[in-house]
């Protein structure tokens, strides 16, 4: 390094060192850092034509205001801006709000002057003097903990405020709390620790510990709550309230960079004109790597060979930028911009520039958070492209990556790389889909087949390398594939309305959009409770964690009435409680702040309190209105408004927003109950959740009792009605009324009568009748749903094997076809015939392999499974064969059941479907019949026929095929010779015959005809499938490469191919023809 060969080189060396410094001290943004960023600036490549945002208008801070939609809020700690925050501190927290104006310009707003704080309960008799003493004591303690810091003060002030805790009903009303304000957010946690463990202050004779209030609220969220800012709403800075940064001094890549004091930011509630969305930009990314054979690509060894990027402006239907960067030359692609590079480092740098130039607000992709983005960063580090990790919004900030994990009851633990890209929201479409939808496979292929109705080709890792090492045409092929992979996430986002729905959810719950994906459910409810508490001058305690309760120490759940199983060929009315749990909480004023502990409840007058069936007491609303009921009222009221607006709306976009909102409101209202019952959550209160369910149980029983008593012959009705089933929030009533319209009439009458006996707003609604209705057992039923007497709306099923994803497709298909036949065509015999023919196909080995694939999620490392699970063992086996294609933790493992020796364990019978296809391993059709079809079919047909077993053992089961053994399967087949048997009667053939035995000679022509017909049919089928795959890959002149495990066409194509070869060889046995 002593003799740097050229100026450029030494520049780079300097850069390395600078960044190392930066990495060590991320808070310190010094002059050297500024220097580095300007060097980076010089490397920016030429801008693409349509990549840039529209030019930002010049802002005159005295005349112009600034209005923008904020998308993300974070903060950093730095030296104070003395103009906007008058303080003597050396380091203060500064909030950054990133957003987009209506014209589509990006904005970075620095908010100064907001100070972190929390509350403690004031000991009795404390005044301002004692507060000062406490403040000094805290300062002294914190100074001890932060010796290296140059900070002047830590605890800024302690002030007495009148507040009320939301925990339990406070008969005496408000009391004194002390609000402690600190210099930086980190000190909040430290001070909380000191106060919770306890302290003694001799000068005022105090000794003890404090319960802290609202001490675990994230700083950015605290600011949003205090200033009534909700996620993704619009903010306004009036003229004169802010200061612009001139272009040369900007620290961010945003077009507009402004500073303001925290009080000057005006927040607009998301109503009226402020419902709109800004024209933010979404970047969708996909990369391709050249892996080595048998290995999953590793960033320190395998190059990135292509990067596809699509930039879409919100509101536009097509991407503004379609770009693919390739390593080595690539032939042109119509409609896309191809950029080829000779060196990987150049390509990575250019891609970084693309991000900076196109300045996306949201980065999406499929599994990008676990693969694409970390891979790019790791790869750049391997290649020592030091300028690479600077595509956040802040010029000087290097991207930081760390391992993180997210666990939740619903989704298990999932590990991922957390990459901080300041100012740009990362939205991994795969995780959003996993959270919101239950599917049997989450590969991009399966997901796009499910939602977009199209397959995509799946190119195997090893083929990718071959394509890359070919010529520019093969690389073009890969580029087309890569572009498609980048486009699909965007289309999924559009189709599933992810942006609109997530932004509405952020607005309703008041948390930034980035929280919604990265955090659990509870933060959403917590944010709403904090907001509401603030309005009412209440404070939320930070309870010590009680940890998970051992199993069994819960509370009783909802009630399920016994099902009177059967096939009802007449209408069954369904009475539902609308929003059951929220309405119970509202009706009985159930809340943290109204809960009366039982000793105190005894002293209160009976008319002041409501006692729940589980024995807990809550004060009546006249005494004190609960916080949760108020939140729920607002949520449900807002939902009603949104629904009314939805009906009135004509603009499709407005409709989408409103629909997203009413959905978000519904989900939020329902999650309040769950929040109170989450024992590992922020604020668990089992008294609340137990009371809510106990009211629910009581209401269901009451409804049943009342309906059966009222609607009977004694009261002049045609028949005694019976409640045939009831679950959680619904009751099914059989009025024995054959006419649909009359049954609806009765249902409505019953709902109204029962509703009248409940406290408002609890309401029993009549919504639908099922006609006919097949009730199998508890939680399992199917029926045609009617909401008006003229025509049924749809088929509704619950708990029946049409949906459960660990079933193979065969079961789902059979069951749903049977239901169609039984319920819609009312053709039970047709359903039986269909079952028989399907079983026969299965036994005759005519079944498509894709129908037999079972998938199970690999939730933990294979070795951690205690017992030998089929899918875990298979994953292990596949890893030995080829680690590149083996499933990883979190993946769903597809497998089929193969034939095995009699005493083989279940896990020895699972095999990879592709391996089975390639090696011609026989499928254990008996296993599918016994273990997969039998139970669902008997359950389904039990109410319909006397002996449902005949479906499984009738004549149709006596034709089976043992399958053609293939040599590739190994075993004895390596040695055995196939003896030819007669093609007609299967008896062994003598040495002089090749096709038919002497007995069957007479039928020769007929049999030849049949064989020929078979070959022709298979050829047509294969041709059709082949060209379908070619169309899917987008080229009709090239071989099909796809080996997608999720695509039914793939299995079918392979199967037909094999059958065709066999049919050909049979045909060739007729020598004389």
């Amino acid at each position: 390094m002593a003799s740097a060969p050229s100026g450029g080189r030494s520049h780079e060396d300097e850069l390395v060192e600078v960044e190392l410094d930066d990495g060590l001290d991320d808070a310190g943004e010094d002059e050297a850092g500024r220097q580095a960023s300007e060097d980076v600036e010089l490397h920016l490549g030429e801008a693409g034509r349509n990549w840039e945002r529209p030019p930002a208008p010049a802002l005159d801070e005295r005349i112009d205001g600034l209005v923008f939609q904020q998308l993300d809020v974070d903060y950093y700690v730095g030296p104070p801006d003395k103009q906007l925050y008058h303080t003597d501190l050396l380091e203060v927290p500064i909030l950054r709000i990133f957003g987009v104006t209506e014209a589509g310009n990006s904005v970075c707003l620095f908010v100064h002057g907001f100070e972190p704080y929390f509350y403690i309960e004031s000991p009795p008799g404390w005044g301002p003097d004692e507060c000062d003493v406490l403040c000094n004591e805290l300062n002294a303690r914190l100074a001890e903990q932060n010796k290296s810091s140059r900070q002047t003060r830590w605890c800024l002030k302690a002030m007495i405020e009148t507040k009320q805790s939301i925990w339990h009903y406070q008969a005496q009303g408000k009391k004194a709390f002390i609000r402690l304000t600190f210099a930086t957010p980190l000190l909040v946690a430290k001070a909380r620790g000191i106060l919770q463990t306890g302290m003694s202050i001799a000068s005022i004779g105090f000794s003890g510990s404090f319960m802290t209030y609202e001490s675990d609220v994230l700083f950015a969220l605290r600011y949003m709550i205090d200033r009534n800012i909700v996620g993704c709403n619009w903010l306004e800075l009036p003229p004169g309230s802010f200061r612009c940064t001139s272009t040369s001094l900007k620290v961010s890549h945003c077009q507009i960079e402004v500073h303001a004091n925290y009080e000057r930011v005006v927040s607009h509630p998301a109503e009226g004109e402020w419902v709109k969305l800004s024209r933010f930009r979404i970047l969708s990314v996909d990369i391709e790597c050249a892996g080595r054979k048998g290995h999953f690509p590793e960033a320190d060894k395998d190059p990135v060979i292509q990067i596809a990027s699509m930039v879409t402006v919100q509101g536009d239907s097509t991407p503004a930028v379609k770009n693919v960067m390739t390593l080595k030359s690539c032939a042109a692609i119509v409609g896309a911009e191809v950029m080829s590079f000779d060196s990987e480092a150049e390509m990575l740098k250019r891609w970084r520039d693309l991000i900076v130039e196109s300045d996306p607000d949201i980065i999406i992709g499929y599994n990008t958070s676990n693969f694409d983005l970390p891979y790019l960063i790791d790869r750049a580090a391997t290649l020592k492209v030091v300028e690479f990790p600077y595509w956040g919004r802040l010029r000087r900030n290097c991207l930081k990556m760390k391992d993180a994990s997210f666990s939740s009851k619903a989704h298990g633990t999932h590990e991922f790389k957390e990459i901080t890209v300041e100012g740009r929201i990362q939205f991994d479409v795969m995780w959003a889909i996993i959270r919101d939808h239950k599917l049997s496979s989450y590969s991009l292929n399966a997901v796009s087949a499910h939602f977009l109705g199209e397959q995509k080709e799946d190119v195997h890792h090893s083929i990718i390398s071959d394509l890359q090492n070919g010529n520019e045409e093969t690389r073009r092929r890969l580029a087309v594939y890569c572009l498609k992979d980048a486009y699909l996430p965007q289309r999924l986002v559009d189709k599933l309305m992810f942006m609109v729905n997530y932004m509405e959810m952020a607005r309703v719950t008041g948390v930034p959009m980035s929280f919604l994906l990265a955090r659990g459910q509870s933060i959403k409810v917590y944010s709403q409770i904090l907001r509401k508490a603030r309005q009412r001058s209440m404070v939320v305690p930070n309870l010590p964690k009680i940890g998970a309760t051992p199993d069994g120490v819960g509370y009783e759940g909802a009630t399920v009435l016994d099902a009177k199983a059967g096939f009802y060929r007449w209408p069954i009315a369904t009475l539902d409680f609308a929003s059951l749990y929220p309405s119970i909480m509202m009706a009985h004023n159930i809340c943290y702040s109204t809960l009366v502990p039982s000793p105190e409840a005894k002293q209160m007058a009976a008319e002041e309190i409501v006692r729940s069936p589980s024995g807990d007491c809550f004060v009546r609303p006249s005494k004190c209105k609960g916080l949760l009921p108020e939140i729920l009222e607002e949520l449900l009221g807002a939902r009603k408004r949104a629904k009314t607006d939805l009906k009135a709306a004509t603009d499709p976009f407005m409709k989408a927003v409103l629909d997203g909102r009413q959905l978000a409101l519904k989900i939020s209202a329902n999650s309040v109950y769950g929040f109170t019952g989450a024992t590992v959550g922020k604020l668990p209160c089992l008294e609340i959740s137990a009371s809510v369910t106990s009211f629910g149980r009581e209401m269901i029983m009451h409804t049943r009792e009342m309906v059966q008593r009222r609607f009977c012959k004694a009261n002049g009705y045609n028949a005694d009605c019976t409640v045939i089933y009831g679950d959680t929030d619904s009751v099914m009533v059989d009025f024995h009324e054959p006419d649909c319209a009359k049954a609806m009439e009765l249902g409505r009458a019953a709902a109204a009568e029962v509703s009248a006996t409940f406290t408002k707003p609890i309401k029993l609604e009549f919504e639908k009748v099922y006609f006919p209705y097949l009730l199998v057992s508890k939680k399992r039923y199917a029926g045609l749903l009617w909401t008006n007497p003229d025509k049924h709306d749809k088929m509704d099923t619950k708990g029946i094997e049409t949906v459960r994803r660990d079933n193979c497709l065969l079961v789902r298909n059979v069951i749903s076809t049977c239901l169609d036949k039984i319920l819609i065509d009312k053709d039970v015999n047709g359903a039986k015939a269909f079952v028989c023919s399907t079983i026969s196909d299965l036994l005759m080995n005519r079944m498509d392999l894709s129908l037999l694939v079972i998938t199970k999620g690999l939730t933990q490392d294979e070795d951690k499974y205690k017992s030998k699970n089929a899918h875990a063992e298979l994953a292990k086996k596949m890893r030995k064969r080829d680690p590149a294609t083996a499933p990883n933790v979190g993946d769903r493992v597809p497998y089929v059941i193969i034939k095995a020796p009699k005493d083989a364990k279940a896990h020895e019978k699972a095999e990879d479907p592709i391996f089975v296809l390639e090696h011609g391993i026989p499928i254990d059709s008996q296993h599918y019949l016994e273990h997969h079809l039998k139970l669902p079919l008997t359950r389904l047909f039990e109410p319909l026929m006397k002996n449902s077993n005949e479906l499984l053992s009738g004549d149709h089961t006596r034709s089976i095929s043992l399958g053609k053994a293939s040599q590739a399967a190994g075993g004895i087949m390596k040695f055995a010779k196939v003896q030819m048997s007669c093609l007609a009667c299967k008896s062994p053939l003598g040495p002089h015959h090749t096709s038919l035995c002497p007995n069957c000679q007479s039928k020769e022509a007929e049999i030849y005809q049949r064989m020929l017909g078979n070959v022709n049919e298979l050829e047509t089928q294969f041709g059709g499938l082949w060209s379908q795959c070619q169309r899917c890959q987008g080229s009709l002149h090239q071989d099909v490469l796809c080996t997608s495990r999720d695509c039914p066409i793939f299995y079918r194509r392979k199967k037909v191919q094999k059958d065709l070869t066999e049919a050909h060889s049979l045909l060739s046995r007729f020598q004389d023809w």
Binding site: K902, R958, S961, I972, K977, C997
Partner: protein
């Protein structure tokens, strides 16, 4: 028309017991030469070949060759109803879809008919070409059965090595290892207690014990068993059924490469 009468009904019962663990569904072939079956076990690792010659039956008639598909478990269920000393007769029409089993007690006092529905089984006819084997061992079938049973409590595979002195069975398992050697022994008077080795060259092969144990179910059919082996060829485990035929089992050896593949991928 197919008709076959067997005085020793017990024999048919034993045959069924000897194959039903390996094969669930199979075609029985009836021809003028006899009643036979060739089938792979369901996992395609081993092959069973049964031959009951027509001259071994008391009465045998077969007008044209027939292939009758049966579920062996169901056949066994019916044959269980026959007494050990019953005379069994099988009957089938040329184009019928059933087979009839008739059981007559020795003294003709009790006659029962069982009719089994036939299945249409689509499978290939398989056979292993005859070859000269490098080593042939004849040993008491009970001894062989016991060795297989004992070794399978230790390990999953057995290495069979034949030298001119004797045949050695060895295995390895998690808990330890085991070796059993049977020496050539022709001195005993009774032929069925002899161990006779006919050797061209020494052989050592590895097999899955699970299958050998299934083969040993044929022990009641014969007092001795004949093992024929050559390098890299399947072993033949043959039980000769006096005066009527044989049952042969073929099992592919475990090949070193495969082991490697399984371990290292």
């Amino acid at each position: 028309m197919f008709e076959a009468r067997l005085t020793q009904g017990r024999l048919l019962k034993q045959v069924l017991e000897a194959i039903k663990d390996l094969v669930t569904d199979a075609n029985f072939d009836c021809a003028a030469t006899g009643f036979s079956l060739q089938a792979m076990d369901s996992s395609h690792v081993s092959l069973v070949s049964l031959m009951l010659r027509s001259d071994g039956f008391d009465h045998f008639r077969c007008d044209r060759s027939l292939s009758m598909g049966m579920n062996l478990n169901n056949v066994a269920k019916m044959l269980k109803c026959a007494g050990n000393d019953d005379i069994i007769t099988m009957k089938a029409e040329d184009s019928g879809d059933t087979v009839t089993f008739m059981f007559e007690s020795q003294n003709q006092e009790r006659i029962s008919d069982f009719e089994l529905k036939l299945m249409d089984i689509d499978s290939e006819q398989l056979g292993i070409p005859d070859t000269e084997y490098a080593a042939t061992v004849r040993m008491p079938s009970g001894e062989f059965q016991r060795i297989c049973k004992d070794l399978s409590s230790i390990g999953d595979t057995v290495i069979i090595s034949v030298t001119k002195d004797g045949v050695k069975f060895s295995t390895n398992g998690d808990i330890g290892s085991a070796n059993i050697t049977c020496r050539q022994n022709t001195a005993v008077d009774k032929q069925e207690e002899q161990t006779v080795i006919d050797l061209n060259e020494p052989v050592q092969l590895t097999f899955a014990l699970r299958y050998l144990n299934s083969f040993a179910k044929a022990t009641p059919l014969s007092t001795s068993v004949i093992l024929s082996m050559s390098k890299e060829l399947p072993v033949v485990v043959e039980y000769r059924i006096a005066e009527i035929g044989h049952i042969k089992y073929y099992l592919a050896p475990k090949i070193e490469d495969e082991e490697m593949e399984e371990n290292d991928g």
